[in-house]
Structure formats: structure tokens, C-alpha cells
């Protein structure tokens, strides 16, 4: 079983549209949406949810006001400014409350509270799904707004996908990764067999691509690149192609079919058989060859 992760560094380069196209082209693959902050793959794949589970990203503290003596120990110890201090309406008492968004889940306040007046419990902050789509199984998730630990959710989703693939005898897992280079991306690519970076010929996208390439090098994962909208700036595209550190697996054109297919809730392959579809097919062949 092999895992292919598609990432981009910079958002909006067409990563999800390309993953959706791969879903059309792959014969037997499990699809995974690891872009749990802004999951979009389901919009094209229209999943039918078969299994749903809640996700706890970690613990959160909360102060039981009845037991709190306003000693201020928690306020003093919290390094994330997540304890809010205010005065009671009658002006007689200082009130300490946990700011849910600021809380890092370290539990230091609960541990040291002399009155044991702070609860520290697992919090539900997302859910994940195994679904059926017209291309096979999709494992995806939704993280609650302003919730932490998307990296943990990403790991969970990948673990679930490996189980699905093992149970159904799928040889390949195609993962729509997260943007950036931080926690969720690291969780998306760690231990995978191959990373495809979707970039575009803009200075920003190249800058971001270089940072993700450093990351895949750091984790020792073979990496290839697709230049999407390559004809937007042919000069910059040529520069990318000339870079000896970058293995180009395909180029796709700046074309409105990406948006049109999306509006029809179709993959580009389903929507049209034009030149872009051919470019995507050849990209897919190259990716398969690289994965081996």
C-alpha cells in the first residue's frame, strides 16, 4: 500500500482540482482530504457518509466558579494568556475565566489549582467520516472553527484511510494535503511514499514551493512538481523547469475548465476531454511511474 500526498505550500494553485482529477483516473484508490481546515474535496466527490466519529484534539481547562477562591495562581502560571481576569458586577470579587480559544491544553492551571477548582477534560472539536463516492472510499474530516490540533486530526484521518485501504485491498491512497509547512502539513506527509507539489508560475508560489521542498527533504520523501497555469508566466515556468533540484512531472494550462468543472461538481476529467484533461492524464501517468 502506498500513499501519495498532493500539497502546494501556497493555497489556490489548483491542488484539490488536481486531486479530484486523479480520483477519476485512479482505478482503485482510497481518497483522503487532509486539508481539514478548509476541506473542499467533498464538494466535487459528493460523498455519502457511511461512518462518522467525533474527534477530540486535546483537553481544555475550565474553572468551576463556585469552587474558585480567586487566588490567581492559574493567572500567574498560564503562559498563553488564556486566563481572563475581571471583576464581579458587585465589585467585590476577582473572577478568573478560561479563554477557550487561547487555551493550549497544557493543564498546568488545573494541576496547580490549590482548590482543585479547574476541570481539565477532553473536548470534542471536530468529526471525521468514511464515505462512499463514485470513485471509491473517501476519508475526510471537519475541524470545528477556531479549534486546535488539526495535525492530530490529519494523523487520525490518515490512519483510518490506511485501515480502509487494507480492508478493501486498495493499493494506493491519494491524499489532498494541507497548505503551509507547519503542523498539519508535517502530519500529512510524514511516512508517505511520494509527495506531488502543485505550484504555479508566480514568485509567491515558487517561494512557497521552495519551502515545502525543504520540508520534504527534511523528512526524506521523494518529491515531484506539477506547474499548474504554466502559461500564465512562461518565463517563470521556464525558470522552474531549469532548476536541477526540481523534478517536473507535468504542466497544466491556465484554463477556465477548472472553475467550470467545479461549478458542475465534476472533476476536470469528467467535465471535458480537452487539452487540459490530456495534460492531467499524462501527469497522472508520470506520478504512477514515480511511485513505482
Amino acid at each position: 500500500m502506498k500513499e501519495l500526498v498532493v500539497i502546494s505550500g501556497k493555497g489556490g494553485t489548483g491542488k484539490t482540482s488536481i486531486v479530484a482529477a486523479f480520483a477519476s483516473l485512479a482505478k482503485s484508490a482510497v481518497l483522503v482530504d487532509c486539508d481539514v481546515d478548509a476541506a473542499d474535496l467533498h464538494i466535487i466527490l459528493q460523498p455519502d457518509v457511511e461512518h462518522r466519529e467525533e474527534f477530540s484534539g486535546g483537553k481544555l481547562a475550565s474553572i468551576r466558579q463556585n469552587d474558585c477562591t480567586s487566588c490567581g495562581k492559574c493567572f500567574e502560571l498560564c503562559r498563553y494568556n488564556a486566563i481572563e481576569k475581571s471583576t464581579s458586577p458587585d465589585g467585590k470579587r476577582t473572577i478568573y475565566e478560561i479563554d477557550r480559544i487561547g487555551c493550549e491544553g497544557c493543564g498546568v492551571c488545573a494541576w496547580f489549582c490549590p482548590e482543585k477548582a479547574i476541570d481539565f477534560k477532553e473536548s470534542i472539536n471536530g468529526e471525521w467520516f468514511i464515505s462512499n463516492t463514485r470513485f471509491g472510499k473517501l476519508v475526510h474530516a471537519r475541524l470545528g472553527i477556531a479549534e486546535e490540533n488539526s495535525g492530530k486530526l490529519v494523523s487520525l484521518v490518515r490512519t483510518a484511510a490506511r485501515k480502509v485501504a487494507a480492508d478493501n485491498g486498495n493499493e494506493l491512497i491519494i491524499i489532498d494535503g494541507s497548505p503551509g509547512i507547519g503542523c498539519p502539513v508535517i502530519a500529512s506527509i510524514s511516512g508517505a511514499q511520494y509527495v506531488l507539489i502543485v505550484t504555479e508560475p508566480t514568485l509567491s508560489a515558487i517561494h512557497d514551493m521552495e519551502r515545502v521542498i525543504q520540508l520534504t527533504k527534511h523528512f526524506n520523501i521523494p518529491t515531484g512538481v506539477c506547474i499548474n497555469k504554466w502559461d500564465l508566466n512562461q518565463e517563470i515556468s521556464n525558470d522552474i523547469e531549469k532548476n536541477p533540484d526540481i523534478k517536473i512531472l507535468g504542466k497544466t494550462s491556465y484554463n477556465t475548465v477548472f472553475t467550470k468543472a467545479q461549478i458542475m461538481r465534476q472533476t476536470v476529467i469528467e467535465y471535458s476531454d480537452n487539452a487540459v484533461a490530456d495534460e492531467l492524464k499524462s501527469l497522472w501517468e508520470n506520478v504512477l511511474y514515480e511511485i513505482g
Binding site: S155, R162, A187, S190
Partner: protein, 135 residues
């Protein structure tokens, strides 16, 4: 001498569990008396730092060696620094592997044999791995 073996079930007849951090059971056995205890892995449902937790757990049992399939860098680090020999690449029936170990047929590893899910000691270490991880 006391050793730990990762196992799919709680008896000596069961198969070795190829994973370390997320294995089903740790069998802690005295290879002289063949007395053993099977510990259900409490970290199975945790999602970060399982290798570290598991390593800490079995190191606390005063073992001299760990026998498993794969061991990542974080767990290896903890075991190695605690003077515990790490033997990877083991497979088959637990009782047979113990015999092989007693006969000196197993070699200890000087390095972790699988990549870090997050690199060595990398932030947030969450179960990645290469294939054989289970839920």
C-alpha cells in the same frame, strides 16, 4: 534476563506485533523462568508521542531488551539512553522468537529501523508510519 516483546495477543502462542508504539500487547518475560505478564498497550488510542509513551512504560519494567518489528527514532532514543537493547525485524510466533533470542540468533540494532513519523523528536509526533499501522 527480562525482555519485552510486542505481541498481537496476550499469550506466547500469538504472533509478534510488527509495530512498537501502537502494538496490541507488550509481553514482559523472564527468559530464565519463562514467567511472563502481558500488558495491554494503554497508548493505543493516543495520537501523539505513542512511541515515547510505550518506551517509557516498558523501560519502567526493568527489562534488558526489546524485541519488535519496527522501532522509530523517538522510542529508540528513550530505550537506547536507558541502556535497553533494541532488536528489530522480528516476526513469527512469540515463543519461537524468545527461543531464537536465547540462542543468540537475534542481533540488536544500533539505529531505529523506521523513519520518524515526525523525524527524530519532531514536534507533535503523530502516528505516520509505513503501512502497517492499525487503528
Amino acid at each position: 534476563m527480562k525482555v519485552a516483546i510486542t505481541s498481537l495477543e496476550s499469550s506466547l502462542d500469538s504472533q509478534i506485533d510488527a509495530t512498537f508504539g501502537r502494538c496490541q500487547y507488550f509481553i514482559i518475560i523472564d527468559t530464565d523462568s519463562m514467567e511472563f505478564e502481558a500488558i495491554k498497550n494503554p497508548s493505543l488510542s493516543a495520537s501523539q508521542g505513542v512511541g515515547i509513551q510505550s518506551a517509557q512504560l516498558i523501560a519502567g519494567k526493568n527489562i534488558s531488551a526489546l524485541i519488535t518489528g519496527n522501532c522509530g527514532p523517538n522510542a529508540f532514543n528513550v530505550l537506547n539512553q536507558s541502556g535497553i537493547e533494541v532488536i528489530t525485524g522480528a516476526s513469527g510466533k512469540v515463543s519461537q522468537v524468545i527461543e531464537d533470542f536465547k540462542n543468540g540468533n537475534l542481533k540488536s540494532s544500533e539505529l531505529p529501523n523506521v523513519g520518524g513519523h515526525f523525524g527524530a523528536g519532531q514536534g507533535g509526533g503523530r502516528g505516520g508510519g509505513r503501512g502497517r499501522w492499525r487503528m
